[in-house]
């Protein structure tokens, strides 16, 4: 019996900008079909890591593999990934439907092939009635919903989500969390970067905490919170604060 290859793996992944090290020798693995919560304070290197793994920036050192493809091989990488960056990459002059069709065109996937899934997601996110409105008239939350559908409508192996609930109202945020769980249940690996710790605590299978470019802790939310509070009442937020205050803490 062979061990299934991880959906994401990095080895000594490093990114430097001049004299500044944004990501410092990151080594971790994300098994297939899990939700991986990627946490860290502002400027810790989360977005840079995500960009490297998605092929948007090149590592200075080290390697990153997504679905078995090296992160610098963008030509092959795109077949496996979906990305929702912090700023939704949408064209304001298009309607949401046209935007989704355009994204399918870019991948050379017939709209008919992804339509059912895309419209189903839009229905779940209460976006269906606004699909024929121009994106530049959308609120931040509606843009976020459109960009989420765009990122996952082609059923990628790995989806990178950077602050996906940003700008969403509580109901939409909950729906999105449920959709993320459904994605993972359907064997899509979700790499989730967010500051909203309760979300990670609720849905993530594993959590990595990045501090100053280095991975200072990794484990399940339960493992992290258990190690943080001796009295058993600590939560992920306590663990996060402790880790990012004293990065030398080691988890077993």
């Amino acid at each position: 019996m062979t061990t299934p290859s991880p959906a994401i793996s990095t080895r000594d992944l490093t990114k430097r900008y001049g004299g500044t090290t944004a990501v410092d020798g990151l080594t971790f693995e994300v098994p297939s079909g899990v939700i991986y919560g990627f946490l860290g304070p502002n400027g810790a290197g989360k977005t840079t890591t995500m960009r490297m793994l998605a092929g948007l920036v090149e590592p200075t050192n080290g390697d990153g593999f997504v679905a078995g493809t090296h992160c610098t091989e963008r030509r092959r990488l795109v077949d496996h990934i979906g990305l929702l960056p912090e700023e939704p990459p949408l064209y304001g002059e298009l309607t949401a439907r046209e935007q989704l069709q355009f994204a399918a065109d870019l991948r050379d996937i017939p709209w008919e092939q992804v339509q059912e899934r895309a419209l189903g997601l839009a229905e779940s996110l209460d976006l269906i009635d606004d699909l024929d409105r121009r994106v530049d008239g959308f609120s931040k939350g509606m843009k976020q919903k459109t960009a989420f559908v765009q990122a996952v409508q082609h059923d990628p192996d790995v989806v990178f989500l950077d602050e996906p609930t940003s700008g969403l109202d509580p109901r939409a945020a909950r729906t999105l969390r449920e959709l993320i769980v459904e994605l993972a249940a359907a064997d899509t690996t979700v790499f989730l970067s967010t500051h909203i710790l309760p979300v990670v605590e609720e849905i993530a299978d594993r959590v990595g905490v990045l501090y100053d470019g280095s991975l200072v802790s990794e484990g399940s939310p339960a493992e992290l919170t258990a190690a943080a509070g001796g009295d058993g009442e600590a939560n992920l937020e306590d663990a996060f604060l402790e880790l990012t205050d004293e990065p030398a803490v080691a988890w077993g």
């Binding site: 960009r51 998605a54 092929g55 948007l56 920036v57 090149e58 963008r74 030509r75 092959r76 990488l77 795109v78 077949d79 990934i81 979906g82 990305l83 960056p85 700023e87 990459p89 949408l90 064209y91 304001g92 002059e93 298009l94 309607t95 439907r97 046209e98 069709q101 355009f102 994204a103 065109d105 870019l106 991948r107 050379d108 699909l131 024929d132 409105r133 121009r134 530049d136 008239g137 765009q150």
Partner: protein, 535 residues
């Protein structure tokens, strides 16, 4: 909200001026290309261009020192100063960079009047970087001619208020145009048509005016030439300034001088009030509320890149500002319109060729000169969705060809049929298709050499516009290449030596084909290797 001028407002304005200037200097010095560009601008327009008139400046100085004061020449020089300052002022008023970002800031922290003043001062100081050296060069010439510093000092005394009044006057005009543009509740296309119409009316009107003066038009021309065009009021103004050199003061000159001095502060107040009002008002969105989604027409369904092309065309239909960078092409067309005014026959003789060349330049210039640069915000989508950005580049090229052919064939062919044979029109149309196609390949290659990602205001549109050098090179290059094509077409149809004509076409097609193919391949390889680190 009060807009009173207090000491603290002035201090805030000065702080903003310094900050914006510092930001600008850092931006320029931080990138070699920017530094070279600005250095070239200052060298070309601040020193070299004025040097071409240095002989006139020396002669003017000699005349001031030896004979009766040359009021005619002074009037012309002052008209130039006033025109340049007005242009700079109008451009500053019309192109208010980053107003959208500054709006919320001024509502919560800095007094709006300070912002208006600060930005005006910043823009004016930037203009002085070219105007001051240019003026010093000319004043140097006057000093050499006059053999002393008295005459150039008097010229400087005259130039300063004229420059100032031109600057604030132009600023008001620019502000009013910007205000009208923002308040007009019509579609963006109607605004575009109105803007073009206004520019054509101004340009052609000026041509007619000049025509009437220089070619001895009727009574209207006589009236105009006697009062405005040769700078008559400014000649009178010169008579006041050069009184120490023996000029006889004309009463009109006193009026002009007085009006000028009064107009500067009043104009400044008016301009600042206008800009302050515009800073703090609520702007409506240009986005249409309800829209209908449009599927891809059958014609564009053949290949994925054609579907991408359709999206670019659709976006342009909804927002013509995507083509704002093509306005220099419009200025070129207005030059043609001016010639047509003087000689209407040109419309039929040169019109078809002009349409073909304009269409070809439009094909490449529309979407090709800044490939992916103007998609900056969507790069995370484009770079993670396609194995190669070639599909996007080809989409841009196809969209450009469609637009270009509307002009090159859609206008060029019917115009051609009026004066030329069907064979000529057929040849012209084939040439149009070829030029439009190669134009797109060359454009994306050129655009890939100098991609521009930073947003800037141009013609009141804030986008990542293509590099100015790429645009100018492409536009003028297109003119030359198009003209060569028409010479070959003429040679072909007029029965010149078959060997020479065939060799000519072979070279022409091969060179342009290679340039286009090479440009496309270069753009694909450059953009495929592109990462967000390059932005």
């Amino acid at each position: 909200m009060t807009h009173t001028l207090s000491r603290s407002t002035l201090r805030d304005a000065w702080t903003l001026t310094r900050t914006e200037l510092r930001t600008y200097v850092r931006h320029v010095t931080g990138e070699t290309r920017q530094l070279v560009g600005v250095g070239f601008m200052v060298l070309a327009f601040g020193i070299l261009f004025p040097l071409t008139f240095i002989g006139s400046a020396v002669a003017f100085g000699e005349a001031l020192a030896t004979g009766p004061v040359p009021l005619g020449a002074a009037g012309v020089a002052f008209v130039v100063v006033l025109s340049v300052a007005s242009y700079v002022g109008a451009a500053g008023g019309l192109n208010q960079e980053r107003v959208g970002q500054i709006g919320p800031l001024v509502r919560t922290s800095i007094p709006p009047l300070a912002v208006s003043l600060g930005r005006f001062a910043n823009r004016s100081l930037q203009a002085l970087a070219i105007f001051v050296p240019a003026t010093l060069v000319m004043l140097g010439g006057v000093a050499v001619g006059a053999g002393g510093l008295g005459a150039p000092l008097l010229v400087a005394v005259a130039v300063v208020p004229l420059f100032a009044v031109g600057l604030v006057g132009g600023r008001i005009v620019g502000d009013i145009l910007r205000y009208a543009n923002e308040r007009l509740q019509v579609s963006l296309w109607i605004k575009a048509v109105l803007t073009i119409g206004l520019m054509v009316v101004i340009f052609v009107g000026t041509q007619l005016l000049l025509n009437s003066q220089y070619e001895g038009g009727g009574a209207y021309g006589t009236v105009i030439s006697g009062s405005v065009l040769p700078g008559q009021p400014l000649q009178a103004f010169a008579s006041v300034v050069f009184t120490p050199l023996g000029a006889d003061v004309r009463p009109l000159g006193l009026v002009v001088a007085g009006t000028t001095l009064v107009a500067i502060p009043i104009g400044l107040v008016v301009a600042m009030r206008l800009e302050t009002r515009m800073l703090v008002r609520d702007l409506g969105s240009d986005a249409a509320g309800a829209t209908q989604s449009h599927g891809v027409p059958h014609l564009f369904e053949v290949v994925p890149s054609a579907r991408v092309a359709w999206r670019y065309l659709l976006r342009t239909r909804r927002d013509p500002r995507m083509l704002a960078h093509l306005s220099p092409l419009l200025f070129g067309a207005m030059g043609m319109a001016g010639s047509v005014v003087q000689d209407p026959g040109i419309a039929l003789s040169l019109g078809p060729a002009a349409a073909v060349i304009a269409g070809a330049v439009l094909a490449g210039g529309a979407y090709g000169l800044n490939p992916l640069g103007d998609d900056r915000d969507q790069l995370p989508l484009l770079l993670t969705s396609t194995p190669s950005v070639g599909i996007v580049l080809r989409g841009r090229m196809i969209a450009g060809i469609v637009l270009g052919l509307v002009v090159a064939v859609g206008i060029g062919a019917p115009l051609g049929l009026v004066e030329h044979s069907p064979a000529y029109v057929l040849g012209q149309s084939v040439l149009a298709v070829f030029l439009a196609t190669v134009s797109t390949g060359i454009a994306v290659g050129l655009g890939a050499v100098v991609p521009k990602f930073e947003r800037r205001e141009y013609m009141s549109v804030e986008r990542a516009h293509p590099s100015q050098w790429a645009m100018m090179g492409f536009f003028f290059g297109g003119l030359v290449v198009g003209a060569i094509g028409f010479v070959l077409l003429w040679a072909t149809l007029s029965g010149e030596s078959i060997l020479v004509v065939a060799l000519g076409w072979l070279t022409y097609v091969a060179v342009l084909g290679l340039a286009a193919g090479g440009g496309y391949r270069y753009a694909v390889s450059r953009m495929d290797a592109f990462t967000l680190d390059d932005v």
